[in-house]
């Protein structure tokens, strides 16, 4: 990467940051976007420390404990990718940044559900992602207001489920819904097929469109599929109703 040439100067102090404002943002009384205890790995060969984490906007703050008034530190999440990792610690995941000598933050939750919640929340936390969504909604609202002449452009058409219901939703589907007549031949009422991951635009949620490599997108979709699959497998272990009224 070519740097802009700069005049030779003695090594400068660290970048100034309005830390009081950051601390204020961390501790203001609006509900956090996510919070909870996570284990944070100190460095490559260091131990894990249990910290209270608070996600607000595109900032992930961490505190000594839940009662602390001032964060120990903050991870600015813009441009990161979030992945599951193999680690000695259970329920581990990583917040990774691109670039030479970039830091990777390895974190571990205290349960599978907490881990999935954090991975989801962190991968959609960036300002860039939010801005994408807002611009799309702005566009849709404009289209509707100007008489709705053209239907809103869908990022991608949602494929129908086997029983004819079109929309995938976050709630588990009712297992007792009967299949309508003329549905997929051979389908029977009973457990729903595993839900499809939500459709998204081609751009990764945490970075500019042209910097998302196929590997990143593949890994990102893959982790969603893995998470959904394990949810579905769990729900299969405890059938809901299974055809009984």
């Amino acid at each position: 990467m070519t740097q802009v040439p700069r005049p030779h100067r003695p090594r400068r102090a660290a970048m100034k940051l309005n830390e009081r404002s950051l601390a204020f943002y961390a501790t203001c009384d609006t509900p956090a976007d996510n919070e909870g205890f996570l284990y944070k790995k100190g460095g490559r060969h260091a131990a894990y420390h249990r910290r209270w984490f608070v996600l607000r906007g595109n900032m992930l703050f961490y505190f000594e404990d839940a009662a602390s008034r001032e964060p120990v530190g903050v991870i600015i999440l813009e441009g990161c990718t979030v992945e599951l990792v193999e680690a000695a610690e259970e329920f581990a995941f990583a917040v990774r940044f691109a670039g030479a000598r970039a830091r990777t933050y390895v974190l571990a939750a205290e349960s599978q559900a907490a881990m999935e919640g954090w991975v989801k929340a962190l991968s959609r936390a960036s300002f860039d992602y939010l801005r994408l969504v807002v611009r799309e909604l702005e566009r849709q609202l404009e289209a509707v207001r100007s008489g709705g002449a053209a239907p809103p452009r869908r990022p991608r058409a949602l494929p129908p489920k086997e029983n004819g219901c079109a929309v995938w939703s976050a709630e588990p589907a009712a297992a007792t819904a009967p299949a309508p007549a003329g549905a997929t031949p051979g389908s029977q009422p009973g457990p729903e097929p595993p839900p499809l991951p939500p459709r998204r635009r081609a751009s990764a949620p945490n970075g500019p469109l042209d910097s998302a490599s196929f590997a990143q997108l593949h890994e990102w979709y893959g982790q969603e599929v893995r998470a959904l699959r394990s949810q579905w497998l769990k729900s299969q272990a405890q059938p809901e109703g299974g055809g009984e009224a």
Binding site: F24, F97, F127, L137
Partner: protein, 140 residues
């Protein structure tokens, strides 16, 4: 407070929403997401950055403005623009630059679209259930 400085520096090199030379101390100022970076005009790395959450942008004289923060309203960061027009443009951009402003906009558009079409526009993104986008998040 510790923070990932390398990543913040990398962010300062990303495409800017806006960038210009604004005076008092002749700084290059660059708005990227919810950060305002300021540089000495001949340097590639920023002198500093301001996180633009819970801040107030106030006009000062004809072509200047100041930024102050909710937790310390007396402390003002002053910026002098080269024209009233540039000043208005920057004030508008900075007021819209916070994550919280973006969140409120999303909630507003979602609500409007829901009223007009009967459908939740966030479903296509798979984020309709997220607590951070609920209407109750809008404060009076």
């Amino acid at each position: 407070m510790r923070y990932n400085e390398k990543e913040l520096q990398a962010l300062s090199r990303q495409p800017a929403e806006m960038a210009a030379e604004l005076v008092v101390k002749r700084r290059l100022v660059k708005l990227v997401v919810n950060f305002l970076f300021y540089f000495r005009t001949d340097e590639a790395e920023p002198v500093g950055a301001l996180l633009l959450e819970h801040c107030r942008i106030t006009q000062e004289e004809p072509s200047g403005f100041s930024i102050s923060f909710l937790e310390d309203p007396e402390r003002k960061y002053h910026f002098e623009c080269c024209s009233e027009e540039q000043c208005q443009e920057w004030m508008g951009a900075l007021r819209r630059a916070s994550y919280e402003f973006m969140r409120r906009s999303l909630i507003f558009y979602r609500n409007e679209l829901q009223k007009m079409t009967g459908k939740d526009p966030l479903e296509q993104f798979g984020i309709s259930g997220e607590a951070r986008f609920q209407l109750s998040g809008l404060k009076a």
